[in-house]
Amino acid sequence: MLQGFIVISENLPYILGGIWVTLTVVVGALIMGLSLGLVLSVAQVYGSRVVRRTVGVYVWFFRGIPLLVLLFLFYFGILANLQIELSPFIVSIIVLGLISSAYQSQIIRGAILSLPEGQLKAARSIGMSDSKAIVFVILPQAIRLSIPGWTNEYTIILKDSAVTYALGVTEILARSRHVAERTYQHFWIYILAGCIFLLLTYVGTKLFQILEEKVRTPGYTQ
């Protein structure tokens, strides 16, 4: 055990350096997921029947296939066949972002559906076009309601980001593995890696709570 601690203290900076890689992947995936998810959710709620079906298939696809398989499919399959060379880091962000967009579209869709119907009618009655009403009336409220869902999504993506190690992204787990292989202290190193993830989950959740508090419309509770 003592040796475990010595190894950890010697290699801590290297492993902690992985936090930036992990966080870049997670934040990148969340932002990509949000921007795609917003479009998808609006399409699924207000789109024509064909559009709704298409979004449904998209969501079914990205929620039904494991991350590891999608990573392999994109990195070794699709991108290699199209002869596009992207780094594992970028591919990880894209794949996690696509998966996240499927989940986030459902979070936002739920939020849109939970708004009273009168909001859209009121917007129309003061002469707003539908698209204007959605952008300026519906989405600002729906996004606020989506924050608790995002908190969950953040913790899921954060933990899933460990899988990107399979493509060779040097995030926390990959670095822990390097150190563990070299020093034979697998047990303590992986406990440390887990605790780093736990800490990131905790800090992230707190930040999202602060955000939720910050953007709350005063006097307006659902």
Partner: protein, 225 residues
């Protein structure tokens, strides 16, 4: 045509073996995980304060650590303190404990949502606490927890692919080996993905059916998302 024949003769039997291995991973993990979730969920609501704390810590750590880190701990970490597990055992233990923690959350939430009067009524009929929990509260709570538990089962199907990372060769592992061997990444991973889609869709359909079947008429069926 050659392509199809090749896929049928060379790839299909191997992938089927992988599917079988995946099922052998998923089913026991789902059952153990569900059981662990029920026990720790009950502890967290009705347990002795010490048990409550312990179950709470269990959930905190097993939900907070990424599943892949947990698998690495079981498979690569434990041997360093003298416990050796086969890849299969490490995967099943890892999946069970991780999904148990999530099940525990759903069951805890459902138990808390059952009206307090139910427990009091059971007491007044002379039930002991344990009997009241198991024959009055849990049957009601389980029905409410089922949508959440069902999600967790579906997650388990997808996360079973991580067993490959601890060298337990299931569907993803087989796919990866075949793809490397024949150098046909696109086709084989597309098939593997399709098989997972089928498994997930069947599970979703089955769970919906189960929810309808066990709903108590007049109690309504809570719909989440």
């Amino acid at each position: 045509m050659d392509e199809l024949l090749f896929l049928r003769q060379e790839v299909a039997p191997e992938l089927l073996a992988g599917v079988w291995m995946s099922i052998k991973l998923i089913v026991p993990s789902a059952i153990f995980g569900f059981f662990i979730g029920i026990v720790s969920g009950v502890f967290r609501v009705y347990g002795h304060p010490v048990l409550k704390r312990l179950a709470g810590l269990y959930v905190l750590f097993f939900r907070g650590f990424p599943l892949l880190v947990q698998l690495y701990l079981w498979y690569f970490g434990l041997p360093r303190i003298g416990i050796y597990l086969s890849p299969f055992a490490a995967a099943v233990i890892g999946f069970s404990l991780c999904s148990g923690a999530y099940h525990s959350e759903y069951i805890r939430g459902a138990l808390l949502s059952v009206k307090k009067g139910q427990l009091l009524a059971a007491y007044s009929l002379g039930f002991s606490k344990i009997r009241a929990v198991f024959s009055i509260l849990l049957p009601q709570a389980m029905r409410r927890a089922l949508p959440g538990n069902g999600n967790e089962f579906i997650y388990l199907i997808k996360y079973s692919s991580l067993a490959y990372m601890v060298t337990c060769i299931e569907l993803t592992g087989k796919g990866s080996i075949l793809a490397n061997f024949y150098f046909k990444y696109l086709e084989i991973f597309a098939i593997v993905g399709a098989i997972y889609l089928v498994m997930v869709s069947i599970a979703t359909w089955g769970l919906n059916y189960l929810e309808d079947r066990i709903a108590i008429p007049g109690f309504g069926r809570p719909k989440y998302n």
